[in-house]
C-alpha cells in the first residue's frame, strides 16, 4: 500500500477490535471520519489511514459500514431502496449516527 494519507481504502476499528477496510470515499460520508482523515489536519488517523472508534462495538460498526456502502452505491440514484435495520440495533445506530455526524 502506498502513502496512507492518500490511499483509496481506510481502516475503521471498533472498540472490541474488529477492523473494517472500506473505500475512503464511503467512509467520508461521515463528517466525523472525514475530519479525522483530512490530510490537512495532521491527526494521527489521517497519517495512518486508520480510525479507532472507541464508542462503537463491532456489531454496530459493521452496520455502519454497510450503511456507508449503501449510501455510496445509491447516492446518485433516483429511487433509493430502503435499508434494513434490525430492531435491536436501531437505537445504537442512531447514537452512532449522531457521533459520526451522518
Amino acid at each position: 500500500m502506498a502513502d496512507p494519507t492518500t490511499s483509496e481504502f481506510v481502516t475503521l476499528v471498533s472498540c472490541d477490535g474488529f477492523e473494517f477496510i472500506i473505500p475512503r470515499s464511503a467512509a467520508c460520508i461521515s463528517g466525523t471520519i472525514r475530519r479525522m482523515l483530512d490530510p490537512a489536519s495532521k491527526f494521527s488517523e489521517a497519517l495512518s489511514g486508520r480510525c479507532v472508534l472507541e464508542n462503537l462495538t463491532g456489531i454496530v460498526l459493521e452496520k455502519v459500514c454497510e450503511y456507508f456502502m449503501y449510501n455510496e452505491k445509491h447516492k446518485d440514484q433516483a429511487n433509493v431502496p430502503d435499508m434494513e435495520i434490525p430492531a435491536e440495533l436501531c437505537l445504537e445506530l442512531l447514537m452512532a449516527a449522531d457521533y459520526l455526524d451522518t
Binding site: I29, M83, L91, L94, A97, T102
Partner: protein
C-alpha cells in the same frame, strides 16, 4: 286551489343560490377593480359555510292528515340543500299539479348550524343520510340520490357567536363502530380543552370518510396525514387560523377524489408577503401602465410584485379544472436533525461541497425509520423519553410523532421520511375545486393561489433539483 300557498319545490330538484344564477361576467367585472385592492382576495360568491339543509314532507304516509296511517317504513323526511326560494322547476313538464297530491303544507326546515336541532332531530339513525345528502347535493346539485353506502360525517361545528368554544357535533353512521367512538372522544377532548389545534390524527384513520367539515375552528395547521383520506370528496377548512395547507391536500385534489374544497376565509399570507418567489405562469400586466404584454417567469423578479394577481392568459396545463402552479417560494434547507441551516450559509460551503445533494437517506434517517417501526414507540411517554441520551431525544420524538400521525411523504419522490431536509411553499390556484367543480376556470379569470407547504426528504428533493417530479 290557485290561492294555495306556494309550496317548496318538488323533491330531488336541488337549488342554487340566486347569486350563482346571475350572469357571472358582468358582476365579476364590476367587482374586480375594488376587489383587487382588497388584501383579502376573497370571492364572495363562494360561501364558506356548508349549505343549509331543509326537509320536507313529500311522502304521502308522513303527512299531517295521514298522521295515523300506517307508515310503510318510509317515515323519514326528505332533506335537500340550498335555498328554499331557489330556482323552481328544472323539468318544464313537471307541473305543480303532479305533486300536489303527495305534498302537504307542513314543511320542516332544518338548519345545519343549529346545534340544538342537530342533536335532537338527528339521531344516529338518520345521520348517515345527512352526510349522504350533503355529499350529493354539494357535488352535483341535480344528481339523484344513489349513494348506497352512506359515509359518516364528522362535523365539529360551532354555534354562532365567536368567543364560544367550538362544540363538536359528531354524527355517526347507523352502527357506531369503535373507530367512530374513538374519533368522537378525541374531538370532544380536544375541543373541550380549548387547544388551538385539534389532534386530528385518529380522524384520518377513517379511510372511507367522504365529507369533512372543520369550519369555524381554531386550527393552525392541517396535518399531512390528511393524505390518508383518499375517499374524501368534500372538505371545508374555512374560518380557521391556517397560514398554509399541506402539500398532501393538493395531492388529494390532483390524484384523489376531492372535488369540493373550501379554503377561504383563512389568514393565508399573500405571495408578496412571503419573500422572493419564482413565478410559474405568464401574466398579463395590462393593469400595469409601464409594462404590457406577457412576462415570463425569468423576467418576473424584475417586476415589482403587485399584491394582486393578473389574469392568467396562458392555456391551463391539462384542462380548465386542474390546479395551476403559480409560484414557488424560497427553499429552506434543513440539516440532518431537521433544523434550518443558517439562512446566509451558502449551499456549497466547503463542509458540504464534498457531499453533493444526494437522495440517499442519512444514517440518522435510516435508523429513525427503523425506530418508528418499533412496537410501542408511539406509547413512549415524555418521561420515558427523558431517559434517552439528550442528543437523540428530539430525533426520537420525531420518530414517535411519525408513528402517531403516520409518516410524512416527500412531496417530490413520495418516499416516507422522518426528518425533513428541505421545505418551501408553493402557490397553486384551485379555483375550480373551490366552487365544487361546477364550472371551469374561465380565461382571464383572476387566480387565487393558495399556499401549500412542501417538504423534501433530501437536498436533492427540491424544486429545480436534479429529478423534479
Amino acid at each position: 286551489m290557485d290561492n294555495e300557498v306556494p309550496l317548496p319545490p318538488p323533491r330531488r330538484i336541488r337549488h342554487r343560490s340566486p347569486s350563482r344564477l346571475s350572469p357571472a361576467g358582468s358582476v365579476a367585472s364590476s367587482f374586480r377593480k375594488s376587489r383587487r385592492l382588497s388584501r383579502f382576495d376573497d370571492r364572495s360568491s363562494q360561501p364558506s359555510s356548508d349549505p343549509a339543509l331543509f326537509s320536507s314532507d313529500d311522502i304521502p304516509a308522513s303527512g299531517l292528515e295521514n298522521y295515523h296511517a300506517p307508515v310503510a317504513g318510509a317515515g323519514r323526511k326528505r332533506r335537500y340543500r340550498g335555498t328554499w326560494w331557489g330556482e323552481q322547476v328544472a323539468d318544464p313538464k313537471r307541473k305543480r299539479a303532479d305533486f300536489k297530491e303527495k305534498r302537504h303544507v307542513d314543511s320542516g326546515v332544518w338548519m345545519g348550524s343549529d346545534e340544538s336541532i342537530a342533536e335532537s332531530s338527528l339521531p344516529s339513525e338518520d345521520a348517515s343520510n345527512w352526510g349522504e345528502d350533503l355529499l350529493k347535493t354539494v357535488l352535483d346539485p341535480r344528481a339523484p340520490s344513489k349513494v348506497a353506502n352512506a359515509p359518516s360525517l364528522v362535523k365539529p361545528s360551532d354555534i354562532a357567536s365567536v368567543p364560544v368554544q367550538p362544540r363538536p357535533v359528531v354524527l355517526q353512521g347507523p352502527v357506531e363502530t369503535e373507530e367512530h367512538k374513538y374519533a368522537k372522544a378525541v374531538i370532544n377532548e380536544c375541543l373541550e380543552k380549548g387547544d388551538d389545534s385539534v389532534d386530528l390524527g385518529e380522524i384520518f384513520d377513517l379511510k372511507d370518510l367522504k365529507v369533512l367539515s372543520l369550519r369555524n375552528n381554531k386550527l393552525t395547521r392541517i396535518p399531512e396525514a390528511i393524505r390518508k383520506l383518499t375517499a374524501l370528496q368534500v372538505l371545508n377548512v374555512s374560518m380557521n387560523r391556517l397560514h398554509e395547507l399541506p402539500w398532501d391536500l393538493l395531492w388529494l385534489l390532483q390524484q384523489g377524489e376531492l372535488k369540493h374544497f373550501t379554503a377561504h376565509p383563512n389568514p393565508f399570507p399573500s405571495i408578496d408577503e412571503s419573500g422572493p418567489v419564482e413565478w410559474h405562469c405568464q401574466f398579463d400586466k395590462s393593469n400595469d401602465e409601464d409594462k404590457d404584454g406577457e412576462i415570463d417567469e425569468a423576467d418576473a423578479p424584475e417586476v415589482t410584485p403587485v399584491p394582486i394577481f393578473s389574469d392568467y392568459e396562458g392555456t391551463p396545463p391539462n384542462d380548465a379544472w386542474t390546479p395551476i402552479h403559480v409560484a414557488t417560494g424560497p427553499v429552506t434547507r434543513l440539516d440532518m436533525e431537521g433544523r434550518p441551516l443558517e439562512p446566509n450559509t451558502p449551499f456549497n460551503t466547503p463542509s458540504t461541497s464534498s457531499q453533493p445533494a444526494s437522495r440517499a437517506p442519512s444514517l440518522r434517517e435510516v435508523s429513525l425509520r427503523a425506530i418508528s417501526k418499533l412496537p410501542g414507540i408511539d406509547q413512549l411517554t415524555d418521561l420515558e423519553l427523558d431517559e434517552f441520551p439528550a442528543l437523540v431525544i428530539p430525533l426520537i420524538s420525531l420518530a414517535r410523532q411519525a408513528r402517531q400521525d403516520g409518516a410524512q411523504h416527500c412531496s417530490i419522490c413520495q418516499r416516507e421520511f422522518i426528518v425533513p431536509r428541505a421545505r418551501w411553499t408553493e402557490w397553486w390556484d384551485c379555483t375550480p375545486h373551490e366552487n365544487g367543480m361546477k364550472r371551469p376556470r374561465g380565461s382571464g379569470e383572476m387566480l387565487r393561489p393558495l399556499p401549500f407547504k412542501r417538504v423534501g426528504c433530501s437536498w436533492a428533493c427540491v424544486p429545480g433539483g436534479q429529478f423534479v417530479e
